[in-house]
Amino acid sequence: MAKDVWKFVAPEHLYYCYECSRCTGSCPAAMVMDTPGPRRLLIKCLHEGPQAVIQEESLWFCTICHVCEDRCPQEIHITDLLTALMNLASRKGNVPERVKAAVETIARTGRSVVTYRVDEERLRLGLKPLGRIDTHELEIIAARTGLLEKKSS
């Protein structure tokens, strides 16, 4: 399974890291959330292997903004690594509940946020409600990738 991660980023490339921590210093998620940040995830991945990192819930705070990768003096593909790790975690069923909930919201409604309050506001302003989105395909994708457990409907 770890191979799936090394397919995207060579482990040798991680050895380039000299822990200047410009990645964590650049990480918008690390500014607002309690997370070890890209540096410590990378080092953990190197020392303890991908299996250990996918246990970390904070892995999912990554917004894939690529700033860490952009500023890395050693040009390590940090975002690629984190993405690969998240993919591995999801394949292992290691997705945090709130991420699952977010996926479900998208798959069921086509939107990442709940909109009934928006609709109330739009009604008050005399606008049409946002209406429903066809989510059939989204649901198929979510089910196929294992992100969404099939509900017996």
Partner: protein, 810 residues
């Protein structure tokens, strides 16, 4: 060599002695040296073969001498390291035993074998046997050569007037040689003149430099030439002819540097010396202690351009009438014996690292700008002020490794920035102890004498050392204060730190125009762009070009002490050449056999040194080689269709013998590689030194230049059944023989076309430009070619054998 003696040695029976070196475990740990020596003993004409632990040691050399006497050896082959390292040693050994040094040959079984095939012991042993067989068959055809001695002009040229150039010039001048010191800018002094204090002693930089500068100015043996640039260099060791352009100063020597002119000048521009933090006029003196102590006019700024006098205010102000708007550039032709390159370095410009906001946020400065700010002679008179409001910063942060140790800028460590920052923080603490200072670092490298003590002092002063560089700097647009956001990796905590001023501790870079100097002098550059020394350990100030030496940061980042040390070393190396007064040069030159020469003239245009003349008319028209200027690349010999040009020590028979020997066993699984002595062979050596592993099936044949590799050699390799051929040389602009490798390219291009027409895979013939620093490139190339030869079928080999077989014309 007298003709009679030559004949005698030609007719002699060949008696070859082979010495296989274990080099401790360096070779012996991988290659079965005993078996190799036993194999060598059975080769034709080999009368003596032995393996020993260290051939280069005194007992090893004694063994060679004894064997020459005892077994009447007249050819000696040593299988050990690269000839670039010990060929001179062993040549001297055989010469001491009464043998002509050119009857010695080396097989490189360390850099090209044991070190690059560490895990393939059997393959390496077989390869070592092949390499020795190649060396033996070449050695049988070697002929004695006589080296010529050339006189060395007892004058030196020093390029660059920084502290390194100054030291070299003074050392040589004190030794009694005439020295031309050429400096591009208007004053000598270089970077050291810009710096405030020096570490670790905290001496005032200009105070210790200025006496040396004025000594240069008044030394009777030094011709100081500022505002001067090297335009061209010709010749060779001991006899260089340099052309120097001395730019007009527009102020005559009578200038007393009173400064009356400056007050009148209407033109302003940023002052380079103060890192652009202040302004200067069009007429100016670089700095107070400048040598020569004379003003000059910057004509790119002055209103009087192209001979039109639009403003003569400075002329009117000058009481001594030292201003001459009509001064012209001067061209000087200098004849010198040795050259010292002390061209220095540039400072990294951190503008591309946009997250730090340099040039966007006024209070983000570089370390060089900081040096000028804190210098009493600087724009603020030594007061630490914020550029945004002129206030004194209460909180200062230093960021380390800016532009160093990074694939986004320069990969190497600039080596001086850690100590420079520690010195800077101590200066702040010394003058304004209440200032909060933090240093954001990755590693602090305090490696030298007195460095760790200084680092400790900085910590004792309460300077905060925070491990981890900030990810970005954010500016408060009202207060112009800066917030650093980063992670303290030792605490594992995110910090947001507001400071008044940020200093980016920038690294050093090769000078932007160092390429021009590299071309002019035929030097080599390492991958980082600094000039390459002849040997990183044992010849650290020599260059591959005999008679040219390196000093200071031109060779790599270093501090003042190291620069001065190296400058003295370079001066002393140059001194050795000049005090000897003459030098022997290798007897590797071309000669024409008039009986074979048809006077076709093909050789004349390919000679990079214009050393071939065609003389006579009609049938009597023959090529003639000017031996004194022939550098021995062998391009002419490769071009000659009639085999009329004999390249001494690298003649056709010798190289063909090597090819035949290389392809004796299983040629269908081999790459025959031709590597030029200066770049590719050295690059292959570098792969060895760095232990870069590559597949064994490659057999390297050394030529002086890739231009020596004639179509005939490539054809021979294919006729003998080689799976692939690699021709490699210096990068086109770096050729040791100006542009001889362009002929190589032409030749290979032609062959590619012919191969394609004949239905042969042109990939089986490869051309690669590999520099002496590109060991990885060499290793990659061989791995790539190994893949190719795996796919070559026996049928294809047969086709190429037929195709390249010479057609009988005569």
């Amino acid at each position: 060599m007298p003709e009679a003696e030559k004949k005698k040695s030609d007719n002699q029976e060949r008696r070859v002695g082979v010495f296989v070196c274990h080099c401790g475990l360096n070779i012996g740990g991988v290659v079965d040296c005993k078996a190799v020596a036993e194999y060598a003993a059975r080769l034709p004409d080999v009368v003596y073969a032995v393996d020993n632990l260290y051939t280069c040691s005194d007992p090893g050399q004694a063994q060679i001498k004894d064997a020459i006497a005892e077994h009447k050896l007249n050819r000696v082959v040593v299988a050990s390291c690269t000839p670039r390292l010990h060929e001179p040693t062993f040549r001297a050994t055989v010469a001491a035993a009464g043998l002509n040094p050119y009857l010695f040959e080396m097989a490189n079984i360390r850099e090209h074998c044991s070190w690059v095939h560490l895990h393939e012991k059997d393959g390496a042993t077989e390869k070592a046997k092949d390499l020795i067989r190649m060396a033996v068959s070449r050695s049988r055809l070697l002929t004695p050569q006589t080296e010529i001695k050339v006189p060395v002009t007892r004058r030196a040229l020093v390029l660059g007037g920084g502290v390194a150039g100054i030291q070299s010039a003074l050392d040589l001048a004190d030794s009694g040689y005439e020295v031309y010191l050429i400096e591009r800018s208007a004053s000598i002094g270089g970077r050291m003149a810009q710096i405030d204090k020096t570490f670790p002693t905290m001496d005032c930089s200009i105070c210790i430099l200025a006496p040396k500068m004025s000594e240069v100015g008044r030394h009777p043996n030094i011709h100081l030439m500022t505002l001067s640039e090297l335009e061209s260099v010709e010749g060779y060791v001991g006899n260089f002819k340099a052309r120097v352009r001395r730019l007009a100063r527009f102020v005559t020597n009578e200038c007393t540097s009173c400064g009356d002119c400056v007050a009148e000048c209407p033109q302003l521009t940023p002052d380079d010396f103060n890192a652009g933090l202040s302004t200067r006029r069009a007429i100016f003196i670089p700095f107070a202690q400048a040598v020569p102590s004379s003003y000059l006019i910057d004509m790119s700024l002055c209103l009087n351009k192209e001979g039109i006098i639009a403003c003569d205010k400075c002329y009117q102000a000058c009481q001594h009438h030292c201003i001459d708007y009509n001064q012209q550039d001067e061209i000087l032709n200098l004849e010198v014996g040795t050259i010292i390159v002390a061209t220095g370095m540039d400072v990294y410009d951190p503008t591309p690292l946009t997250e730090f906001g340099y040039r966007k946020f006024p209070n983000v400065l570089t370390s060089l700008e900081f040096e000028r700010l804190i210098n009493a002679g600087g724009p603020s008179g030594g007061n630490l002020i914020r550029p945004s409001d002129g206030g004194r910063p209460k909180r200062v942060a230093f960021l380390q490794c800016i532009g160093s140790r990074s694939y986004r800028s320069n990969v190497y460590c600039s080596s001086i920035c850690c100590m420079n920052t520690i010195k800077d923080v101590l200066l702040i603490k010394e003058h304004w102890p209440e200032t909060e200072v933090s240093v954001h670092y990755i590693d602090i490298r305090a490696y030298g004498k007195g460095f760790e003590e200084l680092f400790r002092r900085a910590r004792m002063e309460g300077v905060l050392f925070i491990r981890g560089l900030p990810g970005e700097i954010i500016e408060d647009y009202k207060t112009r204060n800066l917030t650093l956001i980063g992670e303290d990796t030792l605490q594992g905590e995110i910090y947001k730190k507001e400071v008044d001023m940020v200093i980016l501790s920038v690294g050093l870079e090769p000078r932007q125009d160092s390429e021009a100097i590299q071309r002019l002098l035929n030097l080599s550059c390492a991958a980082d762009g600094f000039f390459l020394e002849a040997h990183p350990k044992l010849r650290p100030v020599d260059t591959p070009v005999y008679g040219v030496f390196l000093a200071g940061c031109a060779e790599g980042p270093k501090d003042i002490k190291e620069s001065v040390t190296q400058a003295s070393a370079a001066a002393s190396r140059a001194n050795i050449l000049m005090s000897a007064g003459e030098v022997t040069v290798e007897a590797i030159t071309a000669s024409v056999n008039p009986d074979r020469c048809m006077g076709c003239g093909l050789c004349e245009p390919v000679c990079p040194f214009k050393s071939i003349r065609l003389e006579g008319e009609g049938k009597e028209r023959k090529a003639f080689i000017i031996e004194a200027s022939c550098q021995g690349c062998g391009t002419c010999a490769a071009e000659c269709q009639f085999g009329a040009i004999d390249m001494k020590h690298f003649n056709d028979q010798q190289i063909l013998a090597q090819i035949d020997a290389a392809t004796e066993k299983e040629p269908e699984k081999l790459v025959v590689a031709f590597c030029c002595n200066w770049c590719s062979y050295a690059g292959a050596d570098f792969a060895g030194v760095s232990r870069m592993q590559y597949p064994t099936p490659v057999r390297i044949i050394r030529t002086m230049c890739s231009g020596r590799v004639s179509t005939r050699f490539i054809a021979e390799a294919f006729v003998k059944g080689a799976a692939a051929v690699l021709v490699s040389g210096c990068h086109p602009a770096d050729c040791h023989y100006i542009d001889a490798n362009l002929q190589t390219e032409k030749r290979v291009n032609k062959l590619w076309k012919r191969m394609e027409k004949a239905g042969l895979d042109p990939k089986r013939l490869q051309l690669a430009w590999i520099s002496a620093a590109e060991g990885n490139r060499f290793a990659e190339k061989i791995s790539e070619m190994n893949e190719i030869i795996q796919k070559v079928t026996p049928a294809e080999i047969q086709t190429s054998r037929e195709f390249f077989r010479p057609k009988k014309k005569e």
